[in-house]
Symmetry: C2
Subunit: 271 residues, 2 copies
Amino acid sequence: MTTEFLISEIRRKNSFLCVGLDPDLNKIPKHLLAEEDPIFVFNKAIIDATHDLMVACKPNIAFYEAYGIPGWRSLEKTINYLNENYPEIFTIADAKRGDIGNTSAMYAKAFLNDMKFDSITVAPYMGKDSVEPFLAFEDKHTILLALTSNEGAFDFQTKDLDGKELYKQVIETSKTYKNAENLMYVVGATKAEYFEGIRRIIPDSFLLVPGVGAQGGSLSEVCKYGMNENVGLLINSTRAVIYASAEKDFAEAARREALSVQTEMAGILSR
Amino acid sequence: MTTEFLISEIRRKNSFLCVGLDPDLNKIPKHLLAEEDPIFVFNKAIIDATHDLMVACKPNIAFYEAYGIPGWRSLEKTINYLNENYPEIFTIADAKRGDIGNTSAMYAKAFLNDMKFDSITVAPYMGKDSVEPFLAFEDKHTILLALTSNEGAFDFQTKDLDGKELYKQVIETSKTYKNAENLMYVVGATKAEYFEGIRRIIPDSFLLVPGVGAQGGSLSEVCKYGMNENVGLLINSTRAVIYASAEKDFAEAARREALSVQTEMAGILSR
């Protein structure tokens, strides 16, 4: 999917919401456990209930790997369902992968080519040749971890690397990578004031922002500092949406929560 | 597996060789493609041919993900085969995983609990709470990326973070993590002189060293600077061993290559 199409979908839906699909069998409504594939039934219901309110959908691969081959099957069914029924939704494989060149190419094949995700999150620690194999895919995006939303972000990301915070070095250096125009970045919402400095480095790039909702962080603050003229933001919400209810009305409850966020976004977009 | 047992196996086998299992259907002997599960047949033959010469075995998960569910099945069969037939071999899930706390816990469940790998490689970028869920597993090891063997290592790892190279900050900071005694580290062999400084920080930790063989780097140099009184090294070789021959004698050729490395190691250990 091109960035242009993503931007047009944001305008059409008046939304820049990304819904994360992190299914946990201990948390989904109990009546679903009787299903042959509880995870896919759960995901499908959430997708059907929120598809018009979100522009992006982000399964976190760990939650599927945790269930072995059945989990991987549920993941494949989920991405196939999205690709067949809602191709306009920007899909993100939240995998945080990264390895030496020929190995990153294997990860890129699995997610971008075979499962046909629109994008994948990638870890930057191993540098250029670990990231470029993902960037080589045309009309696919690589979402590089820059500043994450968890406590451990302060271990290294916010420390000075050669006179500038590591996360800024990651962003700046990545601009020199081949096919850098395919890059987006993960920037944690709990650090709204950091967006100003980041936008000075990458005014036009899309930012995937976890940490709004259950992880904290204010939508209006993030938009104030992080939005550009093409919006340039994908705000993720997972637990607040998918676990809005643990009962049989879980899909309707998910829709209510997504609608609440999308309404606030529409208000911001109309200013 | 405890470190004590690993050390006793190194002494017993006179080897600190780790064989990497990165099966690529384009590279394995063509006659195997007629098999129902070429990847598992390939892996099993390599394992059976080299089991007494290696102390560790390291499937890189990307090569299995690249083949979807069949690949994942081959991975499960491979680790089950190792666990059932050669439980004395230290198994490493080379996954380079890492995410926020509850998500890292899912990765840890998948590899350390469900597939019963002895250890897993983890990326450090997201810091403490992304690593500690792996460390929480008793008698399991977390192998943290420190200094990797690829060109991109120079993007960030070797730069100064608060006055010290990032890879050194990663190692030093990780020593403060809960259950840090379960840590090992990836240190690229192409940078033998770095081992001196690293050993000053972590004299007793095990180091997983890729980059000997096809990726370059001298075994004797690495041992000179990196070995401690308990050896403290796992030297990985993948392509030189598993692709020593592309013909029907691939397993025998793999054994010859592994024996050549083990012979050199036995010589070093006997000094």
